[in-house]
C-alpha cells in the first residue's frame, strides 16, 4: 500500500483510507511510506536525459541574479545555529529583557517580510501564466473569427482519422484545430510542416504538439516562418519527442493552401 501511495496510483478512496490510517499514528507505515517515496523517485532514471535549450539557463540566471541581493533565507532545517550564536543570545537574555524582546520583534518582522515576498512572487507568477494563456486564447479567437483568415482543410490519409482545420491570418498567425484526435503512443508527438511552393525546397518544420486527453486539438503558431504566398500546403506528421528537422514519416494530414 505504501509503494502504491507513494506512486500516486491509489484511487481516491484507498488513498483517503491510507492517509487516515497514517494520521491515526502508525510509525511502521510512516517509515515504509518514506522509504517508498525514495524508491519511487528513482523511477525518474527511466526517462532518458535530455538537454534543455540554452535560453532556459539564461532566463533562470537573469531571474536569480536579480533576486540575489534580497535578504538571505532562513537557515536550513537541519543546520543548528552555531554555539557561539546561542551563547551570544543567552548573554543578551541575561543582560536586558528589552534586547530580547527587540530581537524577537525584528526576527518576526523579517520572517513576515520573507513570507510576503514569497507570496507576492507566487502570485505574480500565477498572474503571468494566466495572462499569457488568455493572450494566446484571445489571439486564437481573433484568427478564427477574422474574415481575412484563410481556411485550410487538413484531410487525413487514413479514412478512420478525423479531419483537421487550420486558419491562417497573414499578421496574426496560424491556428490548427480538431476533435477526436487519437492519443499518441510513447515518446511520439505531432509536428506541423509548411510545404513551400518551390518544389526544390524542403518542408519547413514548425511546432510540435499533441492532442489533449479528450482528443481536442487547438494549437497556435503565432509567427509562421513563411507567409501564405510562399506556402502551397500544410502537413502534419508523427515524429519523435522534440520534433525533427525533416519529416521521418508520411503525413497523417495534409491540406492545400488556396
Amino acid at each position: 500500500m505504501a509503494e502504491a501511495h507513494a506512486l500516486g496510483a491509489l484511487d481516491a478512496e484507498e488513498s483517503a483510507a491510507f492517509e487516515a490510517h497514517l494520521k491515526a499514528g502508525c510509525p511502521g507505515c510512516e517509515k515504509a511510506l518514506a522509504e517508498a517515496r525514495w524508491l519511487v523517485s528513482q523511477l525518474a532514471y527511466l526517462a532518458p536525459e535530455s538537454v534543455p535549450s540554452r535560453a532556459v539557463k539564461e532566463r533562470l540566471m537573469r531571474s536569480v541574479g536579480a533576486e540575489s541581493h534580497v535578504v538571505p533565507m532562513a537557515s536550513p532545517r537541519k543546520s543548528a545555529k552555531p554555539l557561539w550564536l546561542w551563547a551570544g543570545v543567552a548573554a543578551l537574555l541575561l543582560l536586558t529583557l528589552y534586547s530580547t524582546w527587540n530581537t524577537r520583534q525584528l526576527s518576526e518582522q523579517v520572517k513576515r517580510l520573507q513570507e510576503q515576498a514569497t507570496a507576492e512572487n507566487q502570485k505574480r507568477e500565477t498572474l503571468e501564466q494566466e495572462l499569457a494563456a488568455s493572450r494566446q486564447e484571445a489571439q486564437m479567437r481573433a484568427i478564427l473569427s477574422n474574415p481575412e483568415s484563410t481556411k485550410i482543410m487538413l484531410m487525413p490519409s487514413n479514412k478512420d482519422m478525423p479531419s483537421l482545420e487550420a486558419k491562417w491570418h497573414s499578421q496574426l498567425g496560424l491556428v490548427v484545430t480538431g476533435y477526436e484526435v487519437p492519443k499518441l503512443s510513447g515518446n511520439r508527438v505531432l509536428q506541423l510542416w509548411l510545404i513551400p511552393k518551390d518544389s526544390k525546397a524542403k518542408p519547413m518544420p514548425s511546432i510540435t504538439f499533441w492532442p489533449e486527453r479528450d482528443g481536442k486539438l487547438a494549437k497556435l503558431v503565432s509567427n509562421p516562418q513563411e507567409g501564405i504566398p510562399e506556402v502551397k500546403a500544410l502537413a502534419i506528421t508523427e515524429e519523435p519527442a522534440g520534433g525533427s528537422e525533416q519529416p521521418t514519416s508520411a503525413p497523417i494530414w495534409i491540406g492545400a493552401v488556396s
Partner: protein, 195 residues
C-alpha cells in the same frame, strides 16, 4: 567518475549537492548555476517524458529551479538525498501541468505549492552512487514483463491511478494492482541486492 564523486563522500574539489544547497541559502548564484548544470539534464528528461512537449517542459524546468532558488530551505537534508527531493518536485510540477492542460483548470491552488514530503533513503542507498542507481533502475525495470513495466510507467509518468491503468491496458484491476506491487517490490529488492 564525476557523479560517483558527488555521492561517495570523497568529493575532492567537487562540492556535494548538500553543500551547494547550503550556499543557496546565502543567495550564492554560482552554487545555483552548479546545481543547474549538474541536474538540469535529468530533470528536463523526466519532465519531457511526462509532458511530451519541449516548450512546456522547459517552462516547468525553469519553474522547478526557480522554486529551488527561492525555497532551498524547504529541503531537509536529514530526510533523504537532494536529488530524490528534486526529482519528486519536478514530477509533481510536471503532472500538475499535465492535468492543468487537460482539464483547463487554472486556479491558483492547483499549482502545486507543496514541497515533496519526507523521502528517507534506506541504508543501502548510501552505497549506491547516482550513476549506478540510474543503471540499476533501468536494468531492473527492463527485467519486468512489458505490461508490468508499462503499468508502473503509466502511474509514474502519466499520474494514472490503478483503475485508470486497468482501463487503459484493458486488464483486471486486481492484476494491475499486483503488477505494480510486485514490480516495485522487485525494484526494491534489486536495489538492495546491488549493494
Amino acid at each position: 567518475m564525476f557523479l560517483a564523486a558527488l555521492t561517495s563522500g570523497d568529493y575532492g574539489t567537487v562540492p556535494p549537492d548538500v553543500a551547494l544547497v547550503h550556499r543557496l541559502l546565502q543567495r550564492d548564484v554560482r552554487a545555483f548555476e552548479e546545481l543547474y548544470d549538474r541536474h538540469s539534464r535529468a530533470v528536463y528528461g523526466l519532465v519531457l517524458r511526462i509532458l511530451q512537449q519541449a516548450g512546456t517542459a522547459e517552462e516547468v524546468v525553469q519553474d522547478v529551479f526557480l522554486q529551488l532558488w527561492r525555497n532551498a530551505g524547504r529541503y531537509d537534508e536529514t530526510r533523504g538525498p537532494f536529488v530524490s527531493w528534486l526529482f519528486t518536485l519536478a514530477r509533481n510540477r510536471a503532472l500538475d501541468t499535465l492535468r492543468l492542460k487537460s482539464e483547463r483548470q487554472r486556479r491558483r491552488e492547483d499549482q502545486t505549492e507543496e514541497f515533496p514530503p519526507v523521502a528517507v533513503a534506506p541504508e543501502y542507498e548510501k552505497e549506491l552512487d547516482e550513476k549506478r542507481c540510474a543503471h540499476r533502475v533501468r536494468v531492473l525495470m527492463d527485467s519486468l514483463a512489458p505490461q508490468q513495466k508499462r503499468a508502473i510507467e503509466l502511474a509514474y509518468f502519466e499520474g494514472l491511478s490503478h483503475t485508470e491503468i486497468a482501463a487503459a491496458l484493458r486488464e483486471p484491476l486486481g492484476t494491475v494492482k499486483s503488477w505494480i506491487r510486485n514490480g516495485l517490490l522487485r525494484l526494491k529488492e534489486g536495489m538492495q541486492a546491488a549493494t
